[in-house]
């Protein structure tokens, strides 16, 4: 029995650990590459942060771009959570005319290539006066986040045993009261997942801002870095590219590590499993 457990433990660590190393290697490499010396980059001799200096000094300045990105991302998270919390509740708990059609329609958003929908969206936002605004950009980003979020929240709500709300309903709560006082806490892990992905998507996407934003000073970081990377005629700067990857990734990695505690708490607390 003990031997068996030892073997189990060893294989767990060999498989799990080996896999973890394979997942980490590219990330570690890019961090190292971004400070390594290389011809035709800002970092010519020895290790150092010259590639990052190129980035921070670019055009409107790193802080402006960071702010734009943060603003758009947070707005996207708020929109996505709002729509998918209410929508997921509706899809999981209520029968209403057009339910399946609407759900399928939302999933169908995934099925239209980004490149196709952007031109009509661009025209539409122009009509609504939302082009070249970070608010309009957040709307577009929310749209593409909706299928995943809606599905995720629907699953989350469906996983909650009905008895919980029934007792609350008996206690005199309306359906909204149940959602606000009881269910929100039960679908917490799903909400964090949805919010996190909305953030990651909004933070990283540069195709939507490419179309929607005209002013360089309103560029989010992703677009600014895409611009910076292709500055020299017909050539891409390796150093600036990898430094850009790192700068883009850092806030996301940080966010994930910070949120992980919540996941663990959410997952591990047996109360949620009903």
């Amino acid at each position: 029995m003990r031997l068996q457990r030892a073997i189990g433990n060893t294989s767990f660590w060999v498989f799990g650990g080996g896999l973890a190393i394979m997942f980490l290697v590219p990330l570690i490499w890019t961090a190292v590459a971004s400070v390594s010396p290389h011809g035709a980059t800002a970092q010519q001799d020895g290790y150092g942060f010259n590639n990052y200096r190129t980035l921070t000094e670019y055009d409107a300045g790193l802080l402006t771009y960071l702010w734009n990105s943060a603003y758009v991302s947070i707005l996207t998270v708020v929109f996505t959570l709002g729509l998918s919390l209410l929508g997921g509740y509706a899809f999981a708990r209520f029968r209403f005319p057009g339910r399946d059609a609407l759900f399928l329609l939302i999933i169908a958003i995934l099925m239209v290539p980004y490149a196709t929908l952007l031109v009509p969206l661009w025209v539409l936002l122009g009509e609504l006066g939302l082009r070249n605004s970070l608010f309009g950009l957040a709307l577009v980003l929310t749209l593409y986040q909706l299928p995943f979020s809606m599905f995720m929240m629907r699953i989350s709500f469906e996983a909650v045993p009905r008895e919980i709300e029934e007792s609350a309903l008996v206690d005199g709560c309306g359906t909204f009261g149940v959602l606000r006082r009881v269910l929100v806490f039960a679908v917490w892990p799903g909400m964090i997942t949805v919010g996190l992905f909305a953030f990651l998507h909004a933070w990283n996407d540069f195709i939507a801002p490419l179309f929607m934003i005209n002013d360089s000073s309103r560029y989010p970081l992703s677009l600014a870095i895409a611009t910076l990377r292709q500055q020299t005629m017909g050539a891409v700067d390796f150093g600036a590219t990898q430094a850009g990857v790192v700068i883009m990734a850092l806030p996301c990695l940080l966010l994930f590590v910070l949120l992980q505690r919540h996941y663990v708490r959410g997952f591990m607390s047996g109360a949620l499993k009903g």
Partner: protein
């Protein structure tokens, strides 16, 4: 309650659809014609400087050049130019969408090979009279202007000139026993030099090219075809001559270098993004490069510059870079022209363009105080006069696009056995005529 909400939503949606359709259809109306009525020729040439805000778009590849011109202009004028820089790979989607909806900025700079499509679509104003009114009109480099000419009407002027020229590493030349002051004058000689340098061994290779990059082949190999007095396409850009003997002779020289492994590792797979980054590493003997990268060469070795020769002599260059014009959506064409005309004037060309070692857009300024300090710049400025910019309505999708038919043609020839040349060339023809 629910019904009225739904009705209202339906109405709003219907209105939005209608608006969409109408606005999307409104893109092709022709706004503005040449100049203003009753303008004197002075204001035709200079435009107006009345404190307007001029919007301008450029791709990231030429940002540095554009930004310098914009900064110098803004510092000395009432008008102010607001420059928006767009990632190079995504420039066409962005600009194309804006053109279709009639929402281009006042001033639009564009990779010159795409200019014919935009002029034909009516994206640029006819500026024939304005150009002709310039005191130095006859001295402007003509290749960009010609590509932007439609039915005799001129639409663009050169903005950033980017020429293909040979760069060679003088240090490696010396080590290989070659004369560093005698660059190749024929393509055959170029191949000999490359072989001599390659014989040094180690990390050193004779030459390099973007072997999986249609635009790179066009930019670096076509000049050798032109140098032999031949053409790559007919005048209308609808028929390819790229399977003709003159073209094959050029491919053959390069194919020989590939077969003998004189090219640097990674040549066959280089898709374009890094093709100019290999020479500055200092391990390449001689290769065609964009003139705009001269200022970026490291000082760890000495870089020589020479025109791209034909197989048996002659010289030519691909005059690439960005052309610039006033968009047909501009409501302030006179102010926009004030900026454009200024960028071509003596001050901007010498103190901004030439000072930064870029190629001047005027032949009369080919030799100036800055080029006098660096004879390599004179070489580049002079070869501009014999260079060409090819014209075709289908240029990008045929030659630049990795899914276009040109890339298979040249790759099959150089890396394969070349047996499909005729067939591949038919695909190029089909694409040019589509």
């Amino acid at each position: 309650m629910r019904r009225s909400t739904r009705t209202r939503a339906t109405t709003a949606v219907t209105a939005a659809v209608l608006a969409l359709v109408m606005s999307a259809c409104g893109g092709d109306d022709d706004t503005g014609t040449t100049g203003g009525d009753g303008d004197t020729s002075a204001s035709l040439a200079e435009g107006v400087d009345d404190g307007s805000t001029i919007t301008m778009w450029t791709r990231a590849a030429t940002e540095a050049q554009s930004q310098r011109l914009v900064d110098a202009y803004n510092a000395s004028h009432e008008n102010q130019v607001e420059l928006t820089v767009i990632p190079t790979d995504d420039y066409l989607p962005r600009v194309g969408t804006a053109a279709g909806a009639g929402e281009l900025p006042d001033v639009l700079s564009l990779d010159v090979v795409f200019v014919p499509q935009f002029t034909t679509a009516g994206a640029y104003l006819d500026i024939t009279e304005r150009i002709d009114a310039l005191p130095f009109a006859d001295d402007l480099a003509q290749s960009h202007i010609e590509v932007g000419t439609l039915d005799g009407a001129k639409h663009v002027v050169p903005h950033t000139m980017d020429l293909s020229v040979l760069f060679y590493n003088k240090n490696l030349y010396e080590q290989a026993g070659l004369d560093p002051e005698a660059p190749p004058t024929t393509l055959q000689e170029f191949a000999e030099h490359a072989r001599a340098v390659d014989a040094l061994g180690g990390d050193v290779s004779g030459t390099f090219f973007g072997g999986n990059c249609g635009g790179c082949y066009v930019f670096t190999w076509w000049p050798s075809i032109w140098a032999a007095g031949a053409d790559v396409m007919n005048e209308d850009g609808t028929e390819s001559f790229l399977a003709e003997p003159e073209a094959q002779a050029v491919y053959d020289v390069w194919k020989g270098l590939v077969e003998d492994d004189i090219v640097a590792p990674g040549t066959q797979d280089e898709a374009g993004p890094t093709w100019t980054g290999v020479f500055p590493e200092g391990n390449i003997g001689v290769m065609p490069m964009p003139s705009t990268t001269l200022g970026l060469m490291p000082d760890t070795f000495e870089t020589g510059v020479a025109p791209i020769p034909g197989v048996d002599g002659g010289e030519s260059t691909f005059v690439g870079g960005d052309a610039i014009g006033i968009s047909s959506n501009s409501e302030i064409p006179d102010a926009a022209w004030n900026f454009i005309a200024w960028t071509l004037g003596d001050e901007a060309q010498v103190e901004v363009v030439a000072q930064n070692r870029d190629v001047v857009a005027r032949t009369d300024l080919a030799s100036n105080e800055y080029s006098d300090q660096d004879p390599r710049l004179v070489t580049i400025n002079e070869v501009a006069g014999v260079g060409r910019t090819p014209y075709s309505m289908r240029f990008g999708e045929t030659f630049n696009d990795p899914q276009g038919p040109w890339l298979p043609l040249v790759r099959n020839y150089v890396f394969g056995d070349g047996s499909t040349l005729e067939q591949d060339n038919e695909a190029v023809d089909a694409s040019l005529q589509s």
